[in-house]
C-alpha cells in the first residue's frame, strides 16, 4: 500500500470518484432517485448533495425514462450528467431513451452531437434480494452500438473508471457489482489508470485463461488460488470493458495458455461469454487446446434468493469449468 493509498469499500471509492470529478468540472452533475438527501440506497452518493448543492445533485422524480431523457437534454446543454438507476431490474423503463436516443445521437448527427452521459447501475446477485434486484443486463447494452459498457471489480478500479467514464465523450453504462460494494481495497487517487477499454491481466499464469468481470473477479481469483494448490497455473483477466471488448489482451493470453473459461452471472444464451468465445475461436483457433468454456447463470429468470447460491456461477462451478477444459 503506497503512502497515498487509503483502504476503503468499493462504494466509498465510487463516492470519491464522483466527488473528485465534480470538483474538477462544474458541468458534472448527478441525477437519480433518492441520491440527494438519502445519499442513494447504497450510499454511493452520500454527502454529495451537501457538498455540491441540489442543482448539481438532483433528487429526481420516480421515472427512469425521465432520468435518462433529461440527462440527454442536459448533455445537449453542455452538462456532463451522471445518472443513477437504483437497481438493475429497473433500468428497463429507460431502455427506449438508452437505445433509440442515447446510443444513437452521435451517429444520427454525423458526429455533431455528443451525449457524454454516464448511467450508473448496481448489478448482480448474491445479496438475498427480492425480484428485479439481482439482474445482469449487460448484454442488452453491449449489443447496442454507440454505448460503452464497463464494470469495475475493485475499489481502485471503481475510483479510476468513474473518472474515465465521466471524462469520456461517449455515453457509458457503468455497471457496479453491488455485492462488492462493501469489499475493501486500496485506492490511490493519484493512480495512472489503464484506459477504459482495456482488459487487465490481474494474475499471470500459463495453463488456462480465466476471464471474468465485476462481482465474479474475487471468485475467479479464489478459483486460481485453489488451482495453484493443485499444480495448475491460472491466468485471470478482468474484462473491465464489456463494450468495446479488448480482444488484444484476451487473444494474447489464450495464445500462451491454449485454454479459456469465461464466467458471468448473466444468463448463458447470447451473454458476454458467447461473444468472447466467438472472438477467441475466430482469432486463435489453432492455439486452442480445448473449447472456450462458459460458466454462467442459467437461461431462466433470476431465481428466488433461496436458490441463488447454486444458480450463480460460484467457486465450485468455476472450478468444474476449469476441470472440464482440462479433459480435452
Amino acid at each position: 500500500m503506497s503512502a497515498t493509498s487509503t483502504r476503503m469499500p468499493l462504494a466509498h471509492a465510487l463516492n470519491l470518484g464522483l466527488r473528485h470529478a465534480m470538483e474538477a468540472d462544474d458541468k458534472v452533475m448527478l441525477l437519480g432517485e433518492d441520491i440527494g438527501q438519502l445519499g442513494g440506497v447504497f450510499r454511493v452518493t452520500d454527502g454529495l448533495q451537501k457538498a455540491f448543492g441540489d442543482h448539481r445533485v438532483v433528487d429526481s422524480p420516480l421515472g427512469e425514462a425521465g432520468i435518462v431523457g433529461s440527462a440527454i437534454g442536459l448533455a445537449m446543454a453542455g452538462y456532463r450528467p451522471v445518472c443513477e438507476i437504483q437497481f438493475d431490474g429497473f433500468v428497463f423503463p429507460a431502455m427506449n431513451q438508452i437505445i433509440t436516443q442515447l446510443a444513437k445521437f452521435r451517429h444520427r448527427s454525423e458526429g455533431r452531437i455528443s451525449v457524454p452521459v454516464v448511467i450508473r447501475i448496481p448489478v448482480g446477485g448474491g445479496i438475498g434480494a427480492i425480484e428485479h434486484h439481482s439482474e445482469s443486463p449487460e448484454a442488452y447494452f453491449a449489443h447496442t452500438a454507440g454505448l460503452k459498457v464497463v464494470s469495475p471489480s475493485t475499489s481502485q478500479e471503481a475510483y479510476d473508471m468513474m473518472g474515465l467514464a465521466i471524462r469520456s465523450d461517449d455515453p457509458v453504462i457503468f455497471l457496479e457489482p453491488k455485492r462488492s460494494y462493501w469489499l475493501k481495497g486500496d485506492v490511490d487517487s493519484g493512480n495512472s489508470p489503464e484506459e477504459l477499454q482495456k482488459a487487465t491481466v490481474v494474475r499471470e499464469g500459463q495453463d488456462l485463461t480465466l476471464v471474468a468481470y465485476g462481482a465474479l473477479m474475487p471468485v475467479a481469483l479464489k478459483a486460481a488460488e485453489v488451482c495453484q494448490r493443485e499444480g495448475r497455473n491460472i491466468e485471470v483477466i478482468d474484462l473491465r470493458s464489456l463494450s468495446p471488448i479488448d480482444d488484444k489482451t484476451l487473444i494474447e493470453s489464450v495464445e500462451r495458455t491454449g485454454r479459456m473459461v469465461v464466467a458471468h452471472e448473466a444468463s448463458r444464451t447470447a451473454g458476454l461469454g458467447a461473444e468472447v468465445a466467438a472472438r477467441v475461436q475466430d482469432a486463435a483457433f489453432h492455439s486452442l487446446l480445448s473449447p472456450v468454456i462458459r460458466v454462467t447463470g442459467y437461461d431462466t429468470p433470476y431465481p428466488p434468493s433461496r436458490l441463488e447460491e447454486d444458480w450463480l456461477p460460484g467457486l465450485d462451478r468455476i472450478l468444474d469449468g476449469i476441470d472440464r477444459s482440462f479433459t480435452y
Binding site: 422524480p61 425521465g66 433529461s70 442536459l74 445537449m76 436516443q101 452521435r106 468495446p244 480482444d247
Partner: protein
C-alpha cells in the same frame, strides 16, 4: 362525458380579426406580411417535397399541409437563444429558424439520419420515436436553469425551450414523464401540441376524452387551447408562454387545434380510415387563405409584394429540386466513424473489412 373548451380564435376563417382579452396581441406591431410569406414558403417546401417523393427522389415525406399557421405562428414567438425540439413534421418551424430546407430532405432521401447542425439555428434534429424529444427538451431546460438564464429580466440572457409534439404523443409515457418533470421543477419549457386530430389512423378520441390543453392541469401547469389555423392566436399564445417561461414562471401546454390535411406520410392511405368530407370542411378553414384575406382587406398586400412572394416561391421550388438531387450519399466509412468519439480497435477492423468489400464490388 366529454369536456372541451373552445379554442381561442383571433383571426377567423373569414379573415376577420377580433381582439380577445384572454389572448392579448399587439396586432399592429406584428409583421403579418412576414407571417404570410413564411406560411407560403412552408407550404411550398411541403408541396415540392411531396412531388419529389412521387418522383422517387424521396422515400417518404410527412406533410404539414394545413398546419402552417400553428408552426409559423409559434416560430415567430421565438427569440434567437430559445431552443426548439421538433418532432418530424415541423418543416415550417425549420424554415422560420433559418434551416436550409434542402437539409430537411436528406433524412427522407436516405442520405442521412440527421441533416443539419442543431446548434446553428437552435433547431434540433427530427425525432422519429414519438414523444422522446419531450424529455430532451426538459433536460435542456434544466440546463438553462443551471446556467442561470431564467428570470434575470435581461433579454440577452433569459431563454426557454419550445418542444413540439402531436396529439398522439400525449399517450406515450415519456411525454407524461416530461410533464411531471417540467411541472415539479418549474422548468422554462413550452410544450406546443399541434392537435391535428389524427395519429396515422387514430382519431384524437382514441387518445383522450378531454382536450389536450386540459390535461396540463392534472400535472400542475397551464394549458391554453387556440385555433391552430389562426396564425395570430398561435403567435400570441406562444409569445405569452415563452415570456412566462423565460421569466421563471414555469411550463405551459399550448394546444393548437388544427387538421392534418394530407395523410400521415406519403406512404399512408388515409382513404381507408377517414372521410373526404371532414377534409373538405377543414379546407374551408385554411390558415393561409384567411391571412391573405385579412392582409388584402387591411391594405397590407399590394400586387408588388404578392409578385415578390411568388418569385421567391418559384426559386425556392427550384432550389429544393436541384438541392435534393445534389444531396451527397454518405461515405461508407461514416457509420463506423460516427458511432463513437474515438474509433475502437475492433470497430476499426470491421470498417477496414467493410471498405475492402465495398471497393471490391465497384
Amino acid at each position: 362525458m366529454s369536456i372541451n373548451t373552445e379554442p381561442i380564435t383571433l383571426l377567423n376563417a373569414e379573415g376577420i380579426y377580433s381582439a380577445n382579452k384572454a389572448l392579448p396581441l399587439a396586432v399592429d406591431a406584428v409583421d403579418a406580411t412576414a407571417l404570410y410569406r413564411d406560411m407560403v414558403m412552408a407550404r411550398r417546401v411541403d408541396t415540392e417535397a411531396i412531388a419529389l417523393q412521387r418522383q422517387g427522389e424521396l422515400g417518404l415525406w410527412p406533410s404539414l399541409l394545413g398546419q402552417e399557421a400553428a408552426q409559423v405562428g409559434a416560430a415567430h414567438a421565438l427569440k434567437p437563444r430559445d431552443v426548439v425540439f421538433p418532432t418530424y413534421r415541423e418543416h415550417g418551424v425549420a424554415w422560420c429558424r433559418g434551416v436550409n430546407p434542402v437539409d430537411l430532405l436528406g433524412l427522407f432521401r436516405g442520405t442521412t439520419l440527421g441533416g443539419w447542425d442543431p446548434t446553428a439555428n437552435n433547431f434540433n434534429l427530427y425525432t422519429l420515436v414519438i414523444g422522446a424529444q419531450t424529455l430532451h427538451g426538459v433536460g435542456y431546460a434544466m440546463g438553462i436553469v443551471r446556467d442561470g438564464d431564467v428570470g434575470t429580466g435581461d433579454p440577452a440572457r433569459d431563454r426557454a425551450v419550445l418542444v413540439f409534439l402531436g396529439d398522439g404523443a400525449l399517450s406515450e409515457g415519456e411525454t407524461n414523464e416530461a410533464f411531471v418533470w417540467a411541472a415539479a421543477q418549474n422548468l422554462p419549457v413550452v410544450f406546443f401540441c399541434q392537435n391535428n386530430q389524427w395519429a396515422i389512423s387514430a382519431p384524437y378520441s382514441v387518445q383522450s376524452k378531454i382536450s389536450v390543453a386540459q390535461r396540463a392541469q392534472g400535472f400542475g401547469f397551464a394549458g391554453v387551447r387556440v385555433d391552430g389555423n389562426d396564425v395570430f392566436a398561435c403567435l400570441a399564445a406562444t409569445e405569452e408562454a415563452l415570456a412566462a417561461a423565460r421569466a421563471g414562471e414555469g411550463p405551459t401546454l399550448i394546444e393548437a387545434l388544427t387538421y392534418r390535411r394530407n395523410p400521415h406520410t406519403t406512404s399512408d392511405d388515409d382513404g381507408r380510415y377517414r372521410s373526404g368530407a371532414e377534409n373538405d370542411a377543414w379546407a374551408a378553414l385554411d390558415p393561409i387563405d384567411r391571412l391573405r384575406t385579412y392582409l388584402t382587406s387591411t391594405g397590407q398586400l399590394e400586387e408588388a409584394i404578392l409578385e415578390q412572394i411568388s418569385g421567391q416561391e418559384k426559386s425556392l421550388a427550384e432550389q429544393l429540386r436541384s438541392g435534393c438531387r445534389a444531396l451527397p450519399n454518405p461515405a461508407p466509412a461514416s457509420p463506423f466513424q460516427n458511432t463513437y468519439a474515438d474509433l475502437p480497435l475492433d470497430l476499426e477492423q470491421q470498417m477496414n473489412e467493410h471498405l475492402e468489400f465495398v471497393e471490391a464490388g465497384e
